[in-house]
Symmetry: D2
Subunit: 132 residues, 4 copies
């Protein structure tokens, strides 16, 4: 299960006066992509954070190829780049309904202990799930 697809509609409030989705709003789309990827593995990011490990984004990169429009049904494809250690890296692609590629993106997130604020290793129960 190294990739996952999730679909959602672009909201009116996410557009800007160019008549397309504001480029900054894609960060939330990527967040939905990786959270739903985790959920498919049986992992709740919410539980993970409540259990003391958080995953702040430390690197974000987005290349915009084509615009998303209001009410477009978008599909985000989330791909784990490699087995996580103290960081976890994802590649993303976002498509519209005509399967045109709108965006290519990459994020790196760090596993951080909520209590200490220090980097930690990827929890074992996540590594276990990734074996499958």
């Amino acid at each position: 299960m190294r990739f996952h697809e999730f679909s959602f509609r672009a909201r009116y409030g996410e557009t800007d006066q160019m008549g397309v989705v504001y480029h900054g709003n894609y960060a939330q789309y990527l967040e939905m992509g990786r959270v739903e990827w985790l959920r498919t593995l049986g992992i709740s990011y919410r539980d993970m954070e409540e259990n003391g490990t958080m995953l702040p984004v430390i690197h974000l990169q987005i290349d915009y190829k084509k615009s998303a429009k209001y009410d477009d049904m978008l599909t985000i494809r989330t791909m784990l780049k490699k087995r996580p250690l103290v960081k976890i890296e994802f590649d993303y692609e976002i498509y519209n309904e005509s399967r045109e590629l709108l965006v290519e993106a990459n994020t790196v997130l760090a596993f951080i202990d909520v209590a200490t604020g220090k980097p930690v290793k990827c929890p074992d129960y996540i590594l276990e799930k990734l074996k499958d």
Copy 2:
């Protein structure tokens, strides 16, 4: 010091495809208005929250008269409605550079103890400041 004015520019990312500021973004404008009103009184909302009292919004009402456009220099006028007890109520007006009234709004916020999640009275040091 029952009212206060604060100015700021509308951001591109705050517009929507109607070519005006998205109506939902005014909630952040009102938040800036009351925070800057507090700062003028010598009160930091950040310190207040760190000291154990938070102020969630429990009622929000906005009437939209005229649109704000990208890059407009907007002025928000924040007015304390009455002496706060367990709640604090503000009226707001937002103007553009031509002093046209764009928005009339009202919010009610509750004083809540961060530790217990229970309602509390307005802290004395705020009531003191309001005497002046």
Copy 3:
């Protein structure tokens, strides 16, 4: 078909440092509610705007009863208040998975001709759909 329910998850980026969904983000939730209500009637708001009628919000009112948390599966219930003329009015309720009422809200929107910026009557094809 005077009411409609639609469900979606609260995003991480929609929370604030109180650990709950930021109150200003509910405006987008209400927008999703009424757009999906229209879609159920066979009406696309996107098409409507492309065909020359837009629906800016002129009044927004929200009462916050209980907080929504990150990753909560929220359900918005959208109810048409009365037969629209030059304005259309909706009531909303938002529930969490335990069917606790989080928010009660109301919006009034005006039918506006995109070309002239002037108020117009609710298009006939919408009134037709509302008869059913």
Copy 4:
């Protein structure tokens, strides 16, 4: 005038439940940085767009070093990377009040004719301003 600094406060609505500014909101900060840089040169991005040239972001990269907190007075330093042709590239640094470096970022934007949607060269009046 190849770089410019602009300061503003982080808003409450920009934080997330980690208690820091949500990583996606920095896109708006970068936008403010380059718009204010242009204004210092005597160029209004709003006028530029009204005169038929828009500047969509085609590449966004952000490295997060340290978190910004609510109410922090942030300073964004915007630097033009090279003389623009059909694209314009900026580097950015964001600092807090203690002059700690929070974020390093880079954006590439394309000059696009609003009417045709086609790429165009950087308008001459901007190149003129950059000579100074």
